[in-house]
């Protein structure tokens, strides 16, 4: 599963999708044309059961803890938020979901007010109230119980009383969120100007939670639905069945569709089993797709072959695949530079599946973000021209190191091509004189486990990131800003970056309201952390290759989350 970064969507943002998707964010004043339903998908018919085969279960379906691209896309089937993305016929827009408008900013974008739609219901028929939306955000402060998830609420909301969440402080209030007396609008007071706040409220820490249905850490197992489907059964790690939620009114929702009667997910099959099943198009696979399995071994059978054309989807994904070097355990910059030089881009991309799966990149920022993307050398060479390992340079840096750490642990997930890629990195590092232990982690807890500080920390982490929104704030802040970390949890700053010079540069971007300016500043920061600090080794930008059953229509690349999406899927008759 790919991890998602953050998003900014001030006016128009370009995504790195083949179709040239543009995310349109309507201006705050246009208020009336946001009624549902979503426009009909061409050729779609209601009915049937959509099957989804995934290698692994979702880490979290709790909105306060969900931070993985495919899961964020999927859980919109039962989770509504203030605003949400809709990808339709190649165009992606951010639209009002539970909100009735796109929100109004005041006081230099430190106060945002959203009008709310009336009469939107939970799965049990009760109305979704402003208090529910406020409680959802208050609950996201409970780091102690609800580990994981985005930190946007805590990062941006004003919190003078140091609110710690409803489990520690059951009677305290979070005064920065206020509901209007009639409950028809909600206002957020922020601690700094956030011109891209609209993109942030699409995230889980701003989704409503009904207090009486809050089961704390167990909410993951049965989230209460506000969307077109609700959970019938969920056996963690085995299967999940969604059935129609009769309480969802399409007229209140311009962002969702509900074509299939039932959606059945099965977890646990191997990469090879799912690939071969989907290619064979037999039995249940005829009406199936996968959210986390792309074509790798089967790519040679499908690419360019006419009979698969209608059910093969290839697109440039905004996901970067890279290696983060733990600055807490690999303290000498020369050792980190040696690691950077030692990695062989060719073998990593081949291990991932070759040129149809990825193209070498020197940055985690996609080239479509033109103000933020920089083309620069890594280890003194252009990685697209000379992707081979620079082993001599690596040995050279290693000899210059004062704290010679040559024993390295490389962390990776038990999934798909991860082991092959990690082996490629291990072999390349050993050729440069390191002694490497490959450490495999279970998928369901990877992102939590590698963020733990203080014990068992891996040195080199195989990671991936897709921006939460199309600006550098959606990548660089989450991945590299030292302020996200706590003493025990690195959160999404897996490289544990906290260099004082770099942090000063980050602080300077806080007040930048102009996206062009912040993109440029953050692009510069990313270049510095890669070239000077050597905290990250970006390797490639992913090309997604998805195949689905012949009776499935409406599968598309989602412009909001950059993954293969079932949101508009339907079963052909």
């Amino acid at each position: 599963m790919m991890k998602l970064g953050r998003k900014t969507g001030s006016v128009i943002a370009a995504f790195a999708l083949c179709a040239g998707v543009v995310v349109a964010v309507p201006s705050a004043s246009a208020a009336t044309e946001f009624a549902g339903p979503a426009p009909a998908v061409k050729g779609a018919t209601k009915g049937g059961t959509l099957n989804i085969f995934d290698q692994s279960d979702f880490e979290h379906l709790d909105p306060a803890r969900n931070y993985v691209g495919g899961a964020l896309d999927f859980y919109r089937f039962f989770t509504r938020a203030l605003l949400n993305y809709r990808t339709y016929e190649g165009k992606t827009e951010l639209l009002p979901d539970l909100a009735a408008d796109m929100g109004t900013a005041s006081e230099n974008a430190t106060v945002w007010t959203f009008k709310l739609r009336p009469n939107v219901k939970w799965e049990d028929g009760s109305t979704i109230t402003c208090a529910d939306i406020k409680y959802g955000t208050m609950r996201s402060y409970a780091d102690d119980v609800l580990k994981g998830g985005t930190t946007y609420a805590k990062d941006f909301l004003d919190n003078p009383g140091n609110y710690k969440g409803p489990y520690i402080q059951p009677s305290a209030d979070l005064p920065s969120i206020t509901c209007s007396p009639k409950g028809d609008s909600i206002t957020y007071k922020l601690s700094q100007p956030v011109p891209y706040f609209q993109s942030i409220v699409a995230y889980g820490s701003f989704a409503p939670i009904k207090k009486s249905k809050d089961t704390g850490a167990n909410y993951d197992n049965k989230p209460f639905s506000s969307g077109p489907y609700k959970i019938q059964t969920y056996n963690r790690g085995k299967d999940l069945t969604l059935i129609r939620n009769a309480q969802w009114d399409p007229k209140t929702d311009p962002t969702r569709w509900n074509y299939p009667d039932k959606i059945v997910l099965k977890f646990g099959a191997d990469q090879a089993v799912i690939e071969n099943g989907l290619i064979s198009d037999s039995g249940l696979y005829k009406t199936a797709m996968s959210l986390d399995t792309e074509l790798v071994a089967g790519l040679s059978k499908v690419v360019g072959v006419a009979k698969y054309k209608n059910r093969f989807l290839q697109y440039q994904s905004p996901y970067s695949r890279h290696y983060l070097i733990n600055m807490d355990t690999v303290t000498d910059v020369n050792v980190r530079k040696a690691i950077q030089c030692a990695i062989d881009y060719n073998t990593v991309i081949l291990a991932a599946g070759g040129s149809n799966v990825g193209s070498p990149s020197n940055s985690m920022i996609p080239s479509s973000l033109s103000n933020a993307y920089r083309k620069f050398d890594i280890c003194g060479r252009d990685v697209t021209k000379k992707p081979e390992a620079q082993t001599a340079a690596a040995k050279d840096f290693l000899s210059k190191a004062t704290v010679k750490k040559t024993d390295l642990t490389v962390a990776f997930r038990d999934k798909g091509t991860e082991k092959a890629r990690a082996s490629a990195v291990g072999a390349a590092l050993e050729a440069a004189g390191f002694k490497v232990t490959l450490k495999e982690y279970p998928v369901a807890s990877y992102y939590t486990a590698i963020a733990v500080r203080g014990a068992d920390e891996p040195d080199v982490i195989q990671g991936s990131w897709g921006y939460d929104w199309a600006a550098a704030t959606g990548i660089v802040l989450a991945l590299l800003d030292g302020r996200t970390m706590t003493k025990t949890d690195a959160k999404s700053n897996y490289s544990r970056q906290n260099d004082s010079a770099i942090q000063k540069l980050f602080e300077a971007t806080d007040s930048m309201t102009d996206v062009k300016k912040s993109d440029k500043a953050l692009g510069d920061i990313e270049q510095k952390t890669i070239q000077d600090l050597a905290t990250v080794v970006p390797v490639y930008m992913q090309i997604a290759n998805s195949i689905f059953g012949s009776k499935v229509g409406g599968v598309q690349a989602d412009g909001g989350y950059g993954t293969t999406s079932p949101a508009a899927a339907y079963i052909k008759k």
Binding site: D270, G298, G353
Partner: protein, 322 residues
Amino acid sequence: MSTQVIAEEASRVEGRSPSRMAWERLTKDRTAKVSATVVLIFICLSVFAPLFAWLTKDTPNAFHPETLDSAMGALPIGKLGGVSGDHWFGVEPQTGRDLFLRFVYGARTSLSIALAATFVATVIGVVIGLVSGFFGGKIDQFLSRLMEIVLAFPSILFALAITPVLEDVLIGRGLQAGNGTRIPVIIMVLATFGWPYIARIVRGQVISLREREFVDAARALGASKFHLIFKQILPNLWAPILVTIALNIPTMITAEAALTFLGAGVMAPLSDWGAMLLSSVAFYEVDPMYTAIPGFALFFLVLAFNLLGDSVRDALDPKSSR
């Protein structure tokens, strides 16, 4: 005839010891000769693996990106999975690692773990079988129940579950994570499930031996129990012990490959037949050579060991019923 001729004849008609007779039976057995040759070939391959690496100037873990077709899912270029003068068995998809070297080093890993596990299981099994068979009574009852309990466990499932747990315990006590810790854990786990097979056979043999006249005679002469067990009975057990060793090795080889295939075996990038099988499953349609190599290797080696074990048993005791 003259006395000299009679004396010469007499010296030629020598008495042959049972082992000598067994050896002659074994060498006359065609199956034994063929299977012993196969086993020897595999052992030589694994012992001389570093020699092959030196000869081909390559290593089993070195990546060869130039042998792969990047646009076609990183599959090997060329027929039969990339077989060429440089790569006798072709290369591995996605990595380009030489399959012949991975095969011989994998033989090394799989064989050495299997042999070590067999050795440990044999030692444990022989000791427990001896004690149980010789002493009888409550000791025998307790040990026999223990054997039955261990035999009743679904061994692969349990091994899968317990290997990571044991490893965590050892790492908690300060050992390094990695194959250095994982391999001893695998050997221990395999031996734990293997010893009852040997113990039962040894126990049966001991029970039949302990009532024999030579044991009685030694006892009458005042021999201690220790002497009886280790100097009288144990030397007569070498035949069944040899047979169980020969028949247990293939079981251990298969079990080790199964453990690695299921994810609880040796860790990447150490080459192992079970690991090769596991990674080859995804490619069996587009690169069947990659699956065929470890698959057939396991098949032939296990078959050869089994046939050899049967032949040894026949040679040592031709009266035993098949």
